[in-house]
Amino acid sequence: MSPAIISVSDYLGLVNHALRTIPREGMVIEGEVVEFKVSQGKWVNFDLKDEKAEAKISCFMTVFALNVPLQSGMRVHVTGTSKVFERFGKFTLNVTAIELVGEGALQKAYLALKEKLRVEGMFDVARKRQIPRFPERIGLITSGEAAAYGDFLRILRNRWSGVTVMHTPVTVQGKDAVQEILGAFAQLNALPIENRPEVIVLTRGGGSLEDLHAFNSEAVVRAVFQSAIPVVVGVGHERDESLCDFVADVRASTPSNAAERVVPDRREMVTNVAMSAERIGDRLQYEIDNRSHAIDRALSIFDRSLARLLQSMSDVTRRFGYAFERFRLSLVATVEHIDRRVQMIDSRMKVALDERSRAVMELERVLKSIDPREVLKRGYAVVRSAGKILRSARDVAPGSHLTIQLGEGEIRAQVETNAVQESLL
């Protein structure tokens, strides 16, 4: 029997048919990635190398199917269909799913993505947004069954009230986690502004790096970054970290801590409010006291001035009293002095008057003694002609009228003759 002759492509058709009989389900190929490269931003090629034997498979996939940050040297589990490409005669594994295995590889991938996002500025402190101090609506993205959900609500209730929590239930691990979390972000952000939560809390309990896969997924990190609503992320226990922590506006260490970060504490606020009221009361009281003291001071200054004024007035009055008394006494003294002087003058006047009186009486006596009328009384006469006393007979002519004054009365006469006689008597 002569052998059948078939073409190369027919033969490869048989080979590929045989290859398709290798089951895909229930089996993954474990190996190390080498010669990893991306061409035209679309095609991913790498070799999957056996870790113990000298063996390798060429692997091919698109970047769209690649959901982990792959690098050479990583250990992976790969699923796919194998095929010999007719054109190149090359055996290739068409990768449909790839996942990182071993802490080392996951860690490496994690760090690589972290660095990439950091360089993009997604973790920059400057872009962190403030969350409102007293949020009234909080979006909560977590699993409704998880302890994280209960912890968050319990701490929230312990601390604060009057909050509406808008819970979007999602699975936080497993293959649907990323899509559901992305959906929740989109849903909350798409709410009309009046219903939209003021802050979103993305939280879950702790776990291994694999458990936290969704929280380290680039798509979720970008959703947190792009959320119009500020995001608080609280993952796992204190020591757990995820890339979402870094991109979050506020990083909480646990679900409980997320509740603590997102609302204030009621007791603190009660104290705070009471203290505020007390402080403004104290301050007002202080101001009132200040003014009241100022008024008191003014009044006491006024009082003192008044007292001084009264004191000085009473001093003046007293001094005036003294002065007046002195004045009165000196007046009295003066009056007495004057009295004495008057008496003295009186007595001296009297003496002087007496003296004068005696002198006058003496003079009177003397005058009386020389009074011509006294002489006339003794028989002499005074002859006047035309009012003039005649001293010589020659002073008159006969016929002249004469007035002769006697001791008692007068005589009118007319001259008969006149002769001069040396001595009439």
């Binding site: 009234e136 009057g162 979007t168 959906g183 798409a190 409010v273 009471a274 505020s276 403004i280």
Partner: protein, 77 residues
């Protein structure tokens, strides 16, 4: 500074912020007594409202339905 009449509608955040600004006013201004008395009364009123609000113990939890395919229409809140 004019203030709206205190209503039950005032949010905790607004009331607290106003109380803080009154406290700050008292600590940074030369206090005018007439103005101070007005602000003090307002402050007490705010503190009372805040205390009442703080006495509430309830939070409300609404669970949103998953609507990944129909994000434009979120009325079922």
């Amino acid at each position: 500074m004019t203030k709206k009449i205190m209503s039950k509608k005032i949010s905790f955040a607004d009331a607290f912020q106003e109380l803080e600004s009154i406290t700050e006013w008292f600590e940074t201004q030369n206090v005018d007594l007439d103005e101070g008395v007005k602000k003090f009364e307002r402050g007490l009123e705010l503190a009372k409202t805040l205390k009442e609000k703080l006495a509430d113990v309830e939070n409300t939890v609404i669970t949103l339905k998953k609507k990944f395919s129909d994000l434009d229409n979120p009325q079922d809140l």
